[in-house]
Amino acid sequence: MIERSKILLLSALLVCAGLSHVAGGISPYYFDILIGIGINIILAVSLNLVNGYTGQFSLGHAGFMAVGAYASSWLTLKYGSSIGSGTLSTTTVFVLALLGGGLGAALSGLLVGVPSLRLKGDYLAIVTLGFNEIIKGVIQNAEPLGAQRGLGGMELHTNFFWTFAFAAITIYVVLNLVGSTYGRGFLAVRDDEIAAEAMGINTTKYKVLAFVLAAFFAGIAGGLYAHFKQFIHPEGFNFLRSVDIVVMVILGGMGNTAGVVVAATLLTILPELLRKVAHYEWLPDWLQQVAENRMILYSLLLIILMLTRPQGLFGNFTGKRNQRLQ
């Protein structure tokens, strides 16, 4: 018997394939937003594995995205033309490059995961932030990757199907992993690390695994992004990009995948809406300016959310249970 989740994944992939035929027809502006939503869903859902389910706090997701973006771009730029004309189709090369980017990011995730074993909370946040800066710094100094000028010239490969297919796969993997017997370890690490250790759970292994998996999907998202925008720049993967993703996870509710998907969608559309609002003449000047600077709203949202509803806008079952226990 095929599990329900597998059927869901398959049908999601089929729907993606079907919709991708229609998606070509919509205006480029909306298409841009649509792909942005897909990429953000991958990023937020994968970060949720670390920040939500495993209870760690990573502030460097954009760094892994950068690794994936640069690695896959490098692969397609180098091998795209030589192989593409021969045995493999360009799409195959693209998907292989995406996976390559994901693996590269996973490797860097391993590098971050290892020191994270001894750190928690605030320290971990700063170390991951530091890794983000280091990755950015290395790219800024790497001539083959375009250094400070950015890297361009990738062909447009990212389409509706691949973006949302990978989003569906990310959601499938994260949900199934956390729901499995094996995945209970992630939740145990989050709920009480010392108790989990006493129960014989290898907390180190779970933390590293969470990092590596999340980094892998962030790398895929980076590859999709690079082959959609066709130009990437180190500053596009800075601390603020990481914060964007963290806000999506927190807004959706840490450890609540459905909520995070909704939050990622909303927060991708929100800046576009705000841009429209910023042009309403009848609004006072300062409100227009606030609307133009979405970070002010994001930061206020964070503070108010933490003060009044730390479990996120859409609630969280485990959060409620914890509150009851307290």
Binding site: G121, E133, V243, S299, L302, M306
Partner: protein, 312 residues
């Protein structure tokens, strides 16, 4: 050979004054960590607000002390900026951190990130996003070292470098006095040792935490003025990088440890100057974070810190 040595000493001197700034900011991180066990992400932005306080009150305050740049005027600006920052720090704690005191640490951390982002972006809105030039508080010039001192006369030491280092030392001694010799300082130390026992001994924890935030923020404000005297270009995002570096400094020295923070700040300043001088300015940030990761892997308690046992 002498040239090489002189150049090295020159780099160290440059690093020393930058390190003093980091030390002042790092003290704020460490003090807040001492009493509340959390990292005040917004601390670097209080430093930025200190610089902008100087930017707005500077010209008027200077006018009170005669025309043009003057030392009394500079000290007045310094004190006013410190007081303003202390108030800002206390208000931030009261509004954003106090209601969360019994919540999980992650909640407080996220709030702190939110406060930091808010200050940065509201700063861009209010002060403008472009760098602005800080009013001249003192006339900066290179000190003249007599030729008779030999090779040392080849060094360039500016008035502002001496001033920054001197004021930092002065503030460190004042801080040491406050923490070690006054009743408030004793209460602070008691609170950081054991909050429950401290409150049983009749210490009002809320007052002491407010005081700690005020003290730390005042030091950050002073750092904001001092850096602006040295590099008179300020912008609303100047606190991000300085704050992170100062945090690295606090961890390097052992977070929660006051002399450690000062030492860590100076060390980070020196490391940075040497990287810029001998490797490449592009690697400045990456190497500082490399130091952080290294120290956390090798000795997470920092150079002077003591380890804390994890209890169930």
């Amino acid at each position: 050979m002498v040239d090489k040595l002189l150049e090295f000493v020159q780099q160290l001197l440059n690093g020393l004054s930058q390190g003093s700034i980091y030390a002042l900011i790092a003290l704020g991180y460490t003090m807040v960590f001492g009493v509340l066990r959390f990292i005040n992400f917004a601390h670097g932005d209080v430093f930025m607000l200190g610089a902008f306080a100087g930017f707005y009150i500077g010209p008027k305050t200077l006018a009170l002390f005669g025309t043009g740049p003057s030392y009394p005027g500079m000290f007045a600006v310094l004190v006013v900026a410190m007081v303003l920052c202390a108030i800002i720090g206390i208000v931030i704690e009261k509004l954003c951190y106090r209601p969360l005191r019994d919540r999980p640490k992650l909640t407080v951390l996220i709030t702190a990130i939110g406060v930091s982002l808010f200050l940065e972006n509201a700063g861009q809105l209010v002060f403008g996003a472009n760098p602005q030039s800080f009013p001249e508080l003192i006339t900066d010039r290179a000190l003249e070292i007599p030729e008779s001192w030999g090779a040392i006369s080849g060094l360039t030491i500016t008035v502002s470098q001496v001033l920054v280092f001197g004021i930092t030392l002065l503030l460190l001694f004042v801080l040491r006095y406050v923490v070690m010799k006054t009743k408030l300082g004793m209460a602070m130390r008691a609170l950081s040792f054991n909050p429950v026992a401290a409150s049983l001994m009749g210490i009002n924890n809320d007052v002491i935490i407010s005081f700690t935030f005020g003290l730390g923020s005042a030091l950050a404000g002073a750092a904001g003025i001092l850096i602006s005297i040295q590099q008179p270009s300020i912008d609303p995002l100047m606190g991000v990088n300085a704050g992170l570096k100062a945090f690295v400094a606090a961890v390097l020295g052992g977070i929660g440890n006051l002399p450690g923070a000062a030492l860590g700040g100076i060390l980070i300043g020196l490391i940075e100057a040497l990287v810029v001088g001998y490797i490449s300015p592009n690697y400045r940030d990456a190497i500082v974070f490399g130091v952080l990761i290294l120290i956390l892997i090798v000795k997470p308690t920092g150079l002077l810190g003591t380890s804390e046992r994890e209890k169930v």
